[in-house]
């Protein structure tokens, strides 16, 4: 891997880290969902600084071109991220359903209470 690519990768991972941390700082991203991205940025940072890890991984996986390993890692990261987003969306859907059901029940109970109060 050329020094040029290495520098670009380093810059990209630092940028990602800064953007994520800034989003957390401005409360645009909650802490619990930020770790996935912080870990990804740190992993990228390590790989960009330790070329030998990439070479070892490439040899181990039988990949001729070490930068291709980088691509695989990136795709895997994006996959994990979107899968966990689906899980998060599903959980929120369940929470929203529950909330709508509960508000319907509460307003029915409130109606009953008001009716009982009015007839007193």
């Amino acid at each position: 891997m050329s020094d040029h690519i290495q520098m670009e990768l380093l810059a990209a991972s630092v940028l990602l880290l800064v953007v994520v941390l800034d989003l957390v700082r401005r409360r645009k991203l909650t802490e619990e969902y930020s770790f996935l991205w912080i870990f990804s940025a740190l992993a990228l940072l390590v790989v960009s600084m330790r070329q030998d890890m990439l070479l070892t991984a490439a040899r181990w996986l039988g990949v001729a071109d070490p930068p291709a390993v980088l691509l695989v890692v990136l795709v895997a990261t994006v996959f994990t991220a979107s899968l966990s987003l689906s899980v998060i969306v599903s959980r929120q859907r369940q929470q929203i359903e529950r909330l709508i059901e509960e508000t319907a029940i509460l307003s029915a109970e409130l109606r009953d209470v008001r009716a009982a109060h009015a007839t007193k």
Partner: protein, 234 residues
């Protein structure tokens, strides 16, 4: 003395609800009636408060499973021990409610489900329904004749579990798998089929494809899930 709540889930059934409520009342005046409006956009909610029944209004359309969950939780909080579901489109006859309640009262069933196909050959069963019935029978180890029936009565234990976990989407076939997985005792009771009174079914071709996909997934997944715990949360 058992307290029975008749839950009527409805989405855009403004044209039918008055007739459905009248029919239930004339047949079973001892039943309290709860209409659960599932985000209707027609005049349903203009009519419901005039019917003299209890009602819940879901602010968005969540599907019949969610409407039932809300109705069942309401039933629990208000101290009902038996619930019978009658659809808002009028396809379920109030005349058949007695038959559904009998096995639940006799306590040998947690759930009694109406089947339109109890007499062989009396009503022609569409091929898709037959196939689905076979799949469900095989997967549950119980004889399922009407896999898409949403006409059912529930006893106390079924109410407690389904108030939290009634399946959603196109829930009737999945309900059979869920009941079996949670060891709830189900009996099928013969009911006479009837078409909806007025208007269109909300099932479209696209919805049917989505429903089929969900049912197939449920056939694989639901028996693999852990049984749900009965929660005390009401």
């Amino acid at each position: 003395m058992r307290r029975i709540l008749c839950v009527i889930p409805a989405h855009n059934e403004g044209a039918n609800l008055a007739a459905v409520v009248d029919e239930v009342r004339s047949r079973r005046s001892d039943l309290d009636i709860l209409i659960v409006d599932d985000g209707s956009t027609d005049r349903t909610m203009a009519i419901v408060p005039l019917l003299g029944v209890r009602w819940l209004q879901l602010s968005d359309r969540l599907g019949i499973g969610s409407a039932m969950r809300a109705g069942l939780r309401y039933a629990l909080r208000q101290g009902y021990d038996t619930v019978v579901r009658v659809d808002g489109d009028g396809q379920h006859r109030a005349d058949d409610v007695d038959a559904l309640l009998t096995p639940v009262f006799a306590s040998h069933a947690d759930v009694a489900i109406g089947t339109r196909y109890h007499v062989d050959g009396a009503t022609r069963k569409p091929r898709v329904i037959s196939a689905l019935a076979s799949l469900l029978s095989a997967r549950t180890g119980r004889h399922v004749t009407d896999p898409t029936s949403g006409f059912y009565a529930l006893g106390p234990r079924a109410i407690r579990i389904l108030a939290e976990h009634h399946p959603t989407g196109y829930p009737e076939p999945e309900l059979r798998l869920f009941l079996r997985r949670n060891a709830l005792n189900v009996v099928e009771v013969g009911v006479r089929p009837r078409a909806r009174l007025m208007g269109q079914s909300s099932l479209t071709a696209a919805r049917l494809v989505a429903a089929a996909a969900r049912v197939l997934l449920a056939l694989v997944i639901v028996p693999l899930r852990r049984p749900e715990k009965e929660t005390a949360r009401v």
